[in-house]
Structures are given as structure tokens and as C-alpha cells.
């Protein structure tokens, strides 16, 4: 598997459980931005292992992984032959679209950048905006989000899936 290889992808396929975990994290941390990754086996484009991170900036308008935790995460992924398939964070007062800062700082060309907006309902129940993007060389391309029913086995051929909606209870 060549490093830096970017495979054409127009859709993020993500398990319901992982989707729900990201949304719950965003709601919990509101009004601060929440952030984290979903790691998966290198080259498979399957986000499987949800890893919420602490927002060291603790800010409603900025997020940053703590540098020591970032190293721990990357060493762990390296040991497990994983890569960050999804890098997610939330916007708490604006739409779920990458800002100029988000674009300028995006440093994982193979990742799906997921943005969740908690602007509408904050910590409470209610729909969030959940969108996904590729950010490569400063260019943003939105992609479809396909939420898969969680499987018991880890096969790569899910039987039927529904296109994710932005609604969550």
C-alpha cells in the first residue's frame, strides 16, 4: 500500500453506532467544539474504531488535539496498522462546513473530514447537521454520508444500507 495514495472516494460509509457516537460527543461537548478520529485498517477506507479526543483548546470556535495525546494516538494506530479514516469535529454556532482554518490545517489527505453542527439544539435532543468532506491540497469536496446498520462481523460487504440522514434522536 503506497503511502500518500489517494483513492477516489465520493462517499463516507460509517456504521450507525459510530455515527451515533460522534453525534453524542458533539452534543456532550457543546458549546465547545468536539473532536476526534475514527481509525480503521490501513487502505480499507472503513472507519471502525471510534477515538474521541480532548479539545485542548476548549473553545467554542477552535479545536486542537493535545500534542502528547496526538502522538499516543498515532503510535497506537501505527502499532495496529491503522490510519485515521475519519477526522471529525463540531461547529457549535455555524454550519457543518469546513472553515478556511479547517481547510488550511487539514493535513491528512486520505481522511474523510466529518463536520457536525450543534448550532440548532446544543446539548439537547434534536437533529444535527452531519456532513463529510475530502480536503486535499486546499480543495474541499463534499461527499455523501452512508450510514450502515452495525454488523456483528467486520465484513466489507454490508447487506443493504440507507443513506444517512441528519436526524438523530
Amino acid at each position: 500500500m503506497a503511502d500518500g495514495l489517494s483513492y477516489p472516494r465520493e462517499v463516507l460509509k460509517i456504521d450507525q453506532v459510530t455515527y451515533d457516537a460522534i453525534v453524542a460527543h458533539a452534543k456532550r461537548d457543546h458549546p465547545d467544539e468536539a473532536c476526534g478520529v475514527v481509525a480503521g485498517p490501513e487502505g480499507l477506507d472503513r472507519p471502525l474504531r471510534f477515538v474521541p479526543m480532548v479539545n485542548a483548546a476548549g473553545s467554542p470556535t477552535f479545536y486542537e488535539f493535545d500534542s502528547t495525546e496526538l502522538l499516543r494516538l498515532y503510535k497506537e494506530m501505527d502499532a495496529r496498522d491503522e490510519e485515521p479514516v475519519v477526522i471529525y469535529h463540531s461547529h457549535t454556532a455555524t454550519e457543518a462546513y469546513p472553515s478556511r482554518t479547517d481547510v488550511g490545517l487539514a493535513s491528512e489527505p486520505n481522511a474523510h473530514y466529518v463536520l457536525v453542527s450543534t448550532a440548532d439544539h446544543g446539548n439537547s435532543a434534536g437533529p444535527v447537521e452531519f456532513r463529510s468532506y475530502r480536503i486535499i491540497d486546499g480543495e474541499v469536496t463534499e461527499e455523501e454520508v452512508s450510514v450502515l446498520p452495525t454488523e456483528k462481523s467486520g465484513t466489507d460487504a454490508p447487506r443493504g444500507h440507507v443513506t444517512g440522514t441528519s436526524t438523530t434522536t
Partner: protein
């Protein structure tokens, strides 16, 4: 002397795709100059003027160099240096200088 340097995906264009390279130097600044001589262009991705770039993290033996003297951090044979871009971002209202 050999110092092992781990290179993140986004900088592997400078190292011919290699995820690890070796370098020499007695400080991080010297090491980066040595890397630049072998992999031209990489220094500018790490250093802005005379400082380590804000959103580039460098670790020597698992310690963030911002706690150990930044570019003045001493390095030596057998040390492991890891470079990781920060994972960060902000909402449109954030004012952040992006390198």
C-alpha cells in the same frame, strides 16, 4: 551518527515516499538543516523564519520539543524524532494565523 526521523504522510513528497529517514545533528535545528540537505523543501514546512511552525508538532523520544527547548532541543545518536502535523481547526469566527 543516525537519528531516526518519522515523517507524516503529508511530508512524504519530500522524502520520496519514505515514512522514516535518518539525519544528523546535535540540536533539532541542526537536524532539520541536515534533513533539508537531503530532502530539499522540507525545512520550510517545519520552520517559519527561525521558529518551529505553530501547527507542526515535533517529538524527541516521545517528548514534545516545545517543552524541551524547541529548535534548541539536543538530539543525538539513537534518538527517535517524530513529526506530526497538528490536528486542529476552527469555526469561521476563529482568528488564527494559518501558516
Amino acid at each position: 551518527m543516525a537519528i531516526d526521523v518519522r515523517i507524516p504522510t503529508i511530508l512524504r513528497t519530500y522524502t520520496g515516499g519514505e515514512k522514516a529517514v535518518t539525519g544528523e545533528g546535535s540540536t533539532l535545528a541542526e537536524l532539520i538543516d541536515d534533513l533539508e540537505s537531503k530532502h530539499p523543501g522540507i525545512k520550510e514546512r517545519l520552520i517559519d523564519g527561525s521558529e518551529l511552525r505553530r501547527f507542526v508538532n515535533v517529538y524527541v523520544n516521545d517528548e514534545d520539543v516545545r517543552f524541551t527547548g524547541s529548535l534548541g532541543t539536543e538530539v543525538g545518536d539513537g534518538d527517535e524524532v517524530v513529526v506530526l502535523p497538528a490536528v486542529a481547526g476552527g469555526a469561521p469566527t476563529a482568528w488564527v494565523a494559518v501558516p
